[in-house]
């Protein structure tokens, strides 16, 4: 049975790793729903957050293949119940005289969204939340003459203690015994 999995990958900061990671999905014909990459809380270590919809066995196998890449430090996979996750969405609305501003403000309050910026005759509304929540706001803003919409990939943190920190400490203790060259 397919379900949503969030795969979190900690890597060295090297050119081409994104390619190496995404190729694991391509080879197995798995569609990536979203992917974000950023620095992690550890200096020099990058964090990829990848969301896929797949069955559990296939997901766990692809995670092992990702972890096998030599510059990947560790890869985890989580079910939705094991993470706190969020996305950000931006919406562009044209401010013309026909815009029912009180009604719009009401929608924004209901959704916990806000006007991030007004540029010329447009306003940009921002909303963070789950995909379902940002999608609902999309539906509700549509009648106001939505001019643009973009949603980020998921960012997520597990709702348990991180085991990566312990793992990284163990790796670094071990690394002291080996020559580390920064190439």
């Amino acid at each position: 049975m397919k379900e949503t999995f969030t795969i979190v990958v900690f890597t060295e900061n090297k050119i081409g790793l994104l390619n190496r990671i995404s190729a694991q999905f391509t080879q197995r014909h798995i569609n990536i729903e979203s992917l974000t990459a950023s620095e992690s809380e550890y200096p020099g270590i990058h964090r990829f957050t990848i969301v896929i919809n797949e069955d559990e066995e296939k997901t766990r196998k692809v995670v092992k293949q990702i972890e096998k890449q030599v510059e990947v430090l560790k890869a985890y996979c989580f079910k939705d119940s094991e993470t706190v996750h969020s996305e950000i969405a931006l919406y562009k609305i044209k401010m013309d005289p026909s815009l029912d501003r009180p009604k719009l403000d009401n929608v924004l309050i209901t959704h916990g969204a806000f006007v991030q910026e007004q540029v010329g005759s447009f306003m940009i509304i921002a909303k963070t939340g789950t995909k379902e929540e940002t999608h609902q706001l999309f539906e509700d803003l549509y009648p106001f003459g939505l001019q643009g919409f973009v949603r980020s990939g998921r960012v997520s943190l597990s709702n348990t203690m991180s085991t990566f920190k312990t793992y990284l400490q163990a790796l670094e203790t071990h690394s002291k015994e080996i020559i580390t060259d920064n190439f």
Partner: protein, 576 residues
């Protein structure tokens, strides 16, 4: 070589200034490389120019195609367990390496490939002979990297050798821009012995080994499957000790062949699609299956849903991603095969399983009557591939390195070649690369010059890389080449006969005169088509001083049996 390495060592302290291209050569020498296979071209010319000054220390084998260079490097790596090294230029030079990289990746062969690249200011401009080899080679390398600064060359090469040879070995590629080859650096070389993100060898878990030992001790019908992991970790003696102490019959994958002498009483033969009858049948009867250094390839397992379902599975493996990938494991022992087997053997009790082993012999007798006898001692006029291999065994006293290509001749050679020594079977197992054999045999001969190297090739595969006869002539490497010529792409034809109602679509070959071709390349050759002359022809080939090509005309439409058809269970192995 030692003196030079030492000199390089002394110069480390001086931090000698040199060009990036010279640093490439000195780094290879520091890694103990003696032979490089390659082909020059624009973007790697500085490296070739530096090579000129090191001709005594570093032998370069000029192949006739980059694919030939990489397969030769693979052949050398397979008989030496040391990384094969390849040079190629940018663009087409680099892309011609791809088949060999894919072959080495799936067969876990250590390679270090160094490609030239256009100068860094030209990257991404579609410059002459520019190709994005980093992206192209990514899925077929264990690791790859592009170097654009001369000072990064030594550390990149050090890391490359470490990655290629440690853990589960594999091919790596370093792409060096031409400006980095020209620029100078202060050279010093430190071998890499690890880096943070990479754990090549998982730590052995004693509790799991203990559990496995208890399971193995309690088994009534245990069965060992071994693969190339034995050869790669040099665990041949440990495997033998384990098998002999526990009395468990052992069967091999194509790449595991020669890790255990073929005449060992507990060696029960080959697994898989064209493997032996007994090990396939009894896979579905054993109670404990102990897999060592093998990956349950689909050619070994047949239909997974009907594979060893009755058995508890113990998997000894260095690569965590292989655990549960194809066959669900009950006990996984992660680690190097040598260490794992040592500990496991020490924890297992002495035992024997004579009745169970007898079952293998009984089924072998059936296979012998129905298949082997006819193949090795045929009574029909046409020559069989099997009888050729049987005679090669005799002439070489089972001491030769046998290099094969892909197809019927490969399966026949793997089934019937006999081996006393390890690292004696070189073949393209995982990728099934036609054209692999001829250059790989050249590499094997250069890697093991004291050994007889016999290349067994089909008429189809031979024509994919026959230009390497030129390299064999130039190096005078005494490779003995046997073309088993049936004027067909035999294995495809066999499938067409069995599964496509004998529609022989594009599988019949009208061949050139191989003897004339070989002689044209300056390599002595002959052809034989009658049984009465076969022995003498093979003996002439083996006795000849230097390379020799022997074409053997074999039966046109013979099939390889036993066979586990695609999608069938191993227990449905067919004898005809």
């Amino acid at each position: 070589m030692d003196t030079l390495t030492k000199t390089v060592g002394e110069k480390q302290i001086e931090k000698q200034s040199m060009a990036g291209s010279e640093a490439v050569i000195r780094s290879l020498l520091a890694e103990g490389v003696e032979t490089v296979f390659g082909y020059p071209g624009g973007a790697i010319m500085p490296v070739y120019d530096s090579l000129w000054h090191f001709q005594e220390e570093l032998k370069h084998i000029l192949t006739r195609h980059e694919q030939g260079a990489i397969h030769a490097a693979q052949g050398m790596a397979r008989v030496t367990n040391k990384p094969g090294v390849v040079f190629a230029t940018s663009g087409p030079g680099a892309t011609n390496l791809i088949t060999g990289l894919a072959d080495a990746k799936i067969d876990s062969t250590p390679l270090v490939c160094i490609t030239g690249q256009v100068a860094s200011p030209l990257l991404g401009t579609d410059a002459f002979q520019e190709t994005d080899i980093i992206s192209i080679s990514m899925p077929v390398t264990k690791w790859n990297t592009q170097v654009t600064k001369a000072e990064d060359i030594p550390s990149a090469i050090a890391k490359a050798f470490y990655i290629a040879t440690s853990g589960r070995p594999g091919p790596v590629l370093i792409d060096i821009t031409k400006d980095a080859q020209f620029a100078s650096l202060d050279f010093s070389y430190k071998k890499c012995n690890g880096f943070r993100s990479y754990v090549p060898k998982p730590a052995l878990d004693h509790d799991e080994v203990e559990k496995a030992a208890r399971l193995i001790d309690s088994a009534k019908k245990p069965f060992i499957l071994f693969g190339q992991g034995i050869i790669l970790s040099e665990a041949e003696n440990e495997l033998k000790a384990f098998v002999e102490k526990t009395g468990i019959p052992a069967a091999w994958t194509v790449l595991g062949l020669s890790a255990m002498p073929t005449d060992h009483p507990l060696n029960v033969g080959m697994l898989g699609m064209h493997g032996n009858y007994a090990p396939n049948k009894l896979t579905n009867e054993c109670d404990v299956l102990i897999a060592v250094g093998m990956r349950f390839d689909d050619r070994v397992t047949g239909d997974l849903s009907r594979y060893a379902k009755q058995a508890k599975v113990v998997h000894l493996e260095i690569d965590p991603a292989e655990i549960d990938k194809n066959v669900k494991t009950d006990i996984a022992i992660l680690g190097d095969a040598k260490e794992s087997l040592q500990l496991l053997t020490s924890l297992c009790s002495e035992n024997n399983h004579d009745d169970w082993v007898q079952k293998f012999h009984d089924l072998k007798a059936i296979e012998y009557d129905q298949v082997i006898q006819k193949e090795l001692n045929p009574d029909k006029p046409g020559l069989t591939m099997g009888e050729v291999i049987r005679r090669v065994n005799g002439l070489t006293d089972s001491e030769a390195v046998v290099v094969t290509d892909v197809g019927q001749h490969q399966m026949v050679a793997c089934r019937y070649a006999t081996f006393k020594q390890t690292k004696s079977n070189v073949t393209s197992g995982g990728l099934g690369t036609m054209g692999f054999c001829l250059p790989a045999a050249l590499g094997a001969k250069l890697g093991a010059p004291e050994r007889a190297v016999v290349a067994v090739i089909g008429d189809g595969g031979f024509q994919m890389t026959l230009q390497e006869l030129g390299t064999i002539f130039q190096t005078n490497a005494a490779v003995k080449i046997i073309i088993l010529n049936n004027n067909f792409l035999g294995m495809v034809r066999q499938w067409q006969q069995l599964f496509f109602d004998k529609r022989y679509s594009s599988t019949e070959l009208v061949n050139p005169d191989f003897v004339t071709i070989s002689k044209g390349f300056g390599i002595e050759a002959s052809s034989v088509s009658e049984r009465q002359y076969l022995d003498a022809a093979l003996k002439t080939m083996m006795d000849h001083d230097g390379p020799y090509l022997l074409e053997v005309m074999v039966e046109k439409e013979d099939n390889v049996f036993p066979m586990v058809p695609t999608g069938a269970s191993v227990e449905d192995v067919r004898l005809s």
